[in-house]
């Protein structure tokens, strides 16, 4: 276990060094929130991979596949398909219309403080719903992997995250994500080669062994997601929710133009595509080589599947190779969380400091240097809040919050963003209606469902997206129509479209 801690400390040391370098290049708001929009497509592609692959992806997908077969493979496929939506519908428009946040885009379209406030609420709720389980996950994971107490682990992760974001802004956050993505992909590539070598480069052998050992039922869908509508909800949540996650949107402001935004999505799709497909093979390999009983014995949810597989491939428990592999994969898993929480903190700081304080309360009339100071302080406050929430969440099942975050992103943020970009008549009432209905219906249905109430559930689905997303769209459209026409807003739509599609007048 000390190997894990050692490797992790080395990674921590490197990323803090990067932060020191980045802090000296972070003086303006544009540098703080968007790395001055000067990243290359490859840099942003790697950073997107780092942002999007949480510990749930790195550890969870292979664990689900190992224990439940095909449902785990569905969990891994969705996040890749989701990037098609990002690429075809939002990446370039976001780059062309936004500055630092979702609020910028909405404000640019509507010019109404109320619309801005609605966008801020959507961002903050989604980000905290995502941040809290990540912090709790960090505590559990670090404790499991290094033996450090839960609370110290949460504080350590929180402190590192605050330092990255408050001092190094987007530049440091980006490089932490790039370092994490490179390590994660390297670990995956090594494990993949070792798995393939073990089965003599015949992936079909993985399926055959699994079927012989666990029966044909193991390779069928429905072992984890019992309700068929939950399968569809999961799919919808991914394919629309990713495009509604504010911390993912933020990444498109860090590149200079639409073409670079486009190329960075292709980078991330190839990077995570191979990675996610890999997690399915890792899950099957772990079920074959390590065995489900050993995986469950280490962690009931299967979260240690990948470290255990790495240990097996390195030579097994107690051997030098096995311990080094285990330590490396575990350290990468912790780094994975660090990169994700940093991106979330920065994006939340954008919503609170830039959208809410500077643009809503002060109407944009604040001196540049003051704005950067406020941004740094807000990152500190958000970080402390995240640590407190993480400590409070100890022992609570927070998995429902991850589902909820994606569900709200798909049901509130996504409809409002899409309609703002592409519908002439869409107005401020529609923004408020969409965010409100999407948010409230997601939360209520999640609370009534089996994720919170267990066997007493009033509502049958764990993931309510299949209902809440249409409701979010409906709320946005109905509120728009009920509020009557806003001619001035509609007449601006041509200018706005011009900017959405060409970037003219974009900074």
């Amino acid at each position: 276990m000390s190997i894990t801690l050692g490797i992790f400390l080395v990674i921590l040391f490197i990323t803090l060094g990067i932060t020191y370098w980045a802090a000296r290049r972070t003086r303006t708001t544009s540098e703080f929130y968007a790395a001055d929009s000067r990243l290359t497509a490859a840099q942003n592609g790697f950073a997107l991979a780092g942002d999007w692959c949480s510990a749930a992806a790195f550890l969870g997908f292979s664990g689900l596949t190992a224990l439940y077969g095909m449902d785990g493979a569905f969990y891994a496929l969705g996040p890749l398909v989701a990037f098609c939506t990002v690429l075809l519908l939002i990446a370039e428009p976001l780059r062309n219309t936004g500055k630092y946040t979702l609020g910028d885009v909405i404000m640019h379209r509507m010019r109404r403080p109320t619309a801005l406030l609605a966008a801020v609420s959507g961002t903050i709720v989604v980000n905290f719903a995502y941040l809290m389980p990540q912090m709790a996950g960090a505590g559990v994971l670090v404790k499991l992997l290094t033996g450090m107490p839960y609370q110290s682990a949460v504080v350590l992760v929180g402190a590192a995250m605050i330092i990255y974001v408050a001092f190094g802004g987007m530049l440091a956050t980006t490089w932490v994500q790039i370092v994490k993505a490179v390590l994660m992909l390297a670990a995956a590539a090594v494990i993949l080669m070792m798995v393939l070598a073990t089965i003599r480069f015949d992936p079909l052998a993985l399926f055959e062994q699994a079927e012989t050992r666990y029966g044909p039922q193991y390779l069928l869908p429905g072992n984890y997601l019992k309700n068929p509508f939950d399968q569809i909800s999961l799919g919808l949540g991914y394919v629309c929710g990713l495009a509604g996650l504010p911390h993912v949107m933020t990444r498109f402001y860090t590149v200079p133009d639409a073409k670079t935004a486009r190329r960075s999505v292709v980078w991330v799709m190839f990077l995570v595509g191979f990675f996610f497909a890999g997690t399915t093979l890792f899950g099957l390999a772990a079920a074959d080589f390590v065995g489900q009983d050993a995986i469950r014995a280490a962690d009931r949810g299967g979260n240690l599947t990948l470290p255990l597989l790495a240990q097996y491939l390195g030579g097994g428990a107690g051997t030098w190779g096995g311990e080094v592999m285990l330590g490396f994969v575990s350290a990468v898993a912790v780094t994975t969380i660090l990169a994700v929480v940093s991106g979330l903190t920065l994006s939340t700081s954008g919503a609170i400091a830039h959208d809410f304080y500077v643009n809503w309360i002060k109407g944009g009339h604040i001196e540049e240097r003051q704005q950067v100071r406020i941004a740094r302080v807000s990152a500190l406050v958000i970080g402390i809040l995240a640590v407190a929430l993480g400590i409070l969440a100890q022992g609570v099942n927070v998995a429902v919050l991850v589902i909820l975050a994606i569900c709200i992103a798909a049901s509130a943020n996504f409809p409002v963003l899409i309609l703002s970009l592409f519908w002439r008549r869409f107005n401020t009432a529609g923004v408020v209606g969409g965010i409100l209905v999407g948010l409230v219906s997601s939360v209520i249905l999640a609370i009534l469902g089996p994720a919170v109430r267990g066997a007493d559930a009033v509502w049958p689905l764990v993931n309510p997206t299949i209902v809440s997303m249409p409701l979010g769209f409906l709320g946005a459209v109905l509120a728009t129509l009920l509020a009557g026409r806003d001619r001035e807003n509609e007449s601006r739509f041509d200018t706005f479209s011009l900017r959405v599609h060409t970037g003219v007048a974009a900074e």
Binding site: M70, D71, A73, F74, L77, G78, L80, V81, F83, C84, T85, L87, L88, L89, L204, F207, E208, A210, E211, P216, L219, L220, P221, G222, L225, N227, P228, F229, D230, Q231, I232, L234, G235, L236, V239, K259, R262, R263, V265, V266, M269, F270, G273, F276, A277, T280, S491, R492, D494, T495, S497, L498, R499, H501, T502, G503, V504, A505, E507
Partner: protein, 116 residues
């Protein structure tokens, strides 16, 4: 509103009646709709359809394709490939067809004295 953005918009906005004609933004948007609607339908239907099959057609998903590899895993593999193909197709269309149109729209605007 005294930011450069607002100024630029005011200038472009004054031009509005003409910006919707000429080698215009409307042509560009129509081209986008023509090219990308089929792509969006293809990946949405194939992916959401696959999750629906997983929920409602377990027998079909259990059909063996090669050895122990069943239809479900086979289609999941196909969906990975399809997503990457859609992405590459999008980039190809965007680079070859849409970027030149964007260029035309922008230079037409500049020709009328719009900024930059």
């Amino acid at each position: 509103m005294t930011s450069p953005v607002a100024n630029a918009e005011a200038t472009v906005g004054a031009d509005l009646p003409t910006t919707t004609e000429a080698p215009s933004i409307a042509t560009l948007m129509n081209a986008k709709i023509r090219y990308f609607t089929p792509m969006i339908i293809i990946y949405m239907v194939s992916y959401i359809g696959l999750t629906a099959l997983a929920g409602f057609a377990k027998g079909f998903m259990a059909l063996k394709v090669i050895g122990a590899l069943n239809m479900g895993f086979f289609l999941i593999g196909c969906n990975y490939v399809l997503s990457l193909v859609i992405a590459l197709a999008y980039v190809r269309v965007a680079n070859a067809t849409l970027d030149p149109m964007v260029q035309k729209v922008v230079s037409a605007l500049r020709g009328r004295g719009a900024p930059r």
